[in-house]
């Protein structure tokens, strides 16, 4: 068991990093579900787009020779903000083209449109990168600072890139929380989520609020994409599938439509996965290895959902009438 305790800090850091990543992506699923009551399955591609924007900017800076001269903090700021902006705009365009024309159709139709949009975006990225760089498997350039480690008490060290993910995600989640709960536009989003028709009777331009929701959710997904790239280095157009699926699960776990729920669900899932990856083989004496981490994580999820079908913090469904 000594070995098990030794790796505990590392496992915790891995779990937190993964958890924040899932939380950021899950927000996009849950916010859109809140206002439209459907799952935007193309959100995983919005996430990947953020990762590609990040790698493209870094590669361009590198080839222009600026990567070594510019301050890393400045570079990171540019990369993160551009990833958020472009992913946000892409999500708005997606809503305009693939979902708004179907607003009065049954939800299942929009869902199919979302699946189609997901395939389209994957292959559009693949097409673009194949023409532009002759490959669609890209690697983030190394930023020296990110690969350093910071000692954190006793014999625990944390990589700077993990800290970057944690700090950035915390800031983004705090800003999002304030935006949704303390501003007029945030109140409009919450009103539309409760009852779009009545929200329009209050003078709220519902379609614009829906577009705004896609932008904010998309920007969070884009941020997750950039952080994913900076942390794990490798991206391809299909990188979004598993993180997307897991973040969607995290959103359901926390209670779909529920913003704090998405954050909590992401964290729970990230932790489960990190613990399973490191401890399954130790605890089962090698019978189950790290490759069973997803099985373990999803078994726990299924158990939680059997006990709490509406998720940890409860589903936020639209109320009809009084």
């Amino acid at each position: 068991m000594e070995l098990a305790l030794d790796i505990l800090p590392q496992v915790l850091v891995d779990g937190i990093v993964l958890g924040f990543m899932y939380a950021l992506i899950a927000l996009g699923y849950t916010m859109v579900y809140g206002v439209l009551e459907f799952i935007n399955f193309a959100h995983s591609e919005i996430f990947v787009l953020g990762a590609f924007v990040g790698v493209e900017i870094l590669l361009l800076l590198e080839s222009a020779g600026h990567l070594a001269t510019l301050h890393t903090a400045f570079v990171l700021l540019i990369v993160i903000l551009s990833g958020m902006l472009l992913s946000g705009l892409a999500a708005v365009a997606l809503e305009r083209v693939a979902y708004r024309p179907l607003q009065r159709s049954p939800r299942l139709v929009a869902l199919i449109s979302a699946i189609g949009a997901s395939f389209f975006l994957q292959d559009a990225l693949r097409f673009f990168e194949s023409l532009w760089r002759n490959t669609f498997y890209l690697t983030y350039p190394t930023l020296d600072v990110l690969d350093k480690t910071v000692p954190l008490g006793l014999n625990v060290v944390v990589p700077v890139k993990s800290l970057l993910v944690i700090v950035t995600a915390l800031v983004a989640l705090a800003v999002l929380h304030l935006f949704v709960n303390r501003t007029r536009l945030g109140a409009a989003i919450r009103a539309v989520a409760q009852d779009p028709d009545t929200a329009s009777l209050m003078g709220i331009p519902v379609n614009r609020v829906i577009a705004l929701t896609f932008f904010v959710g998309g920007a969070m997904g884009g941020l997750a994409g950039v952080l994913f790239g900076l942390h794990y280095s490798l991206v391809n157009p299909y990188s979004g599938f598993f993180p997307g699926l897991k973040a969607f699960t995290a959103a359901v776990l926390g209670g779909i439509g529920n913003i704090p729920g998405a954050m909590l669900g992401g964290m729970v899932l990230g932790m489960l996965e990190a613990f399973a990856a490191s401890y399954l083989s130790i605890l089962t004496d090698g019978a189950f290895g790290a490759e069973y981490k997803d099985v373990f994580a999803f078994v726990v999820l299924i158990l939680i959902l059997i006990l709490r079908p509406k998720g940890l913090l409860g589903e936020k469904v639209r109320e009809e009438g009084a």
Partner: protein, 233 residues
Amino acid sequence: MLKVKDVHVYYGAIHALKGVSFSIEKGELVTLLGANGAGKTTTLKTLSGLLRPRSGRIELEGASLNDADPHVIVQRGVGHAPEGRKIFPRFTVLENLYIGGYTRAKISLGPEIERVFELFPRLKERQKQVAGTLSGGEQQMLAIGRALMVRPKLLLLDEPSMGLAPKIVEQILETIASINKSGVTVLLVEQNAAMALAISHRGYVLETGQVILEGKASELAGNDLVRQAYLGG
């Protein structure tokens, strides 16, 4: 101030309004009477843009409302307290009022909220309470107060008496009369014909999507058809 001329509205294949015409003058309190399914709520939803007329014309102060989106109609000065109250149940009373004034700058909403609290002191007592936990009467007060937050020229009220005890209905209708006296034009939809006509200037009777009767409130209250159909005798 409001002119509705030969308006036809469909729900899919259902012909819900079959050429409804009526008008409201500035400062009036007008009641739309009619049985369930006569088209009263459909009329209000069409006026506030939730439904689109297929033909006919709706004019507010001379400008067409036919193709305006709901939020634009609110900006033009139409407040709507919808059927079933439709307060935002997860918002507090105060948040509901603020969202009612969404089209206006937040700084200017203070006096408006005070006015609503004067009309409905119960709301002031419960301002921090989550609206979903209010009683039916309080929710109705909130729905009306919320619609007043835009300082409407025209206030649409859809069955404010629905499901409420007679005593509370009386209180709410009195408040509606006083809102009207303060200068707000009111279009009231009611099934409770006697009480509605008692505070109204004029009224219209809808039946299966058409206006079948109109007149001064006192005349309608004395009309045999209205007495039989809506006044229980």
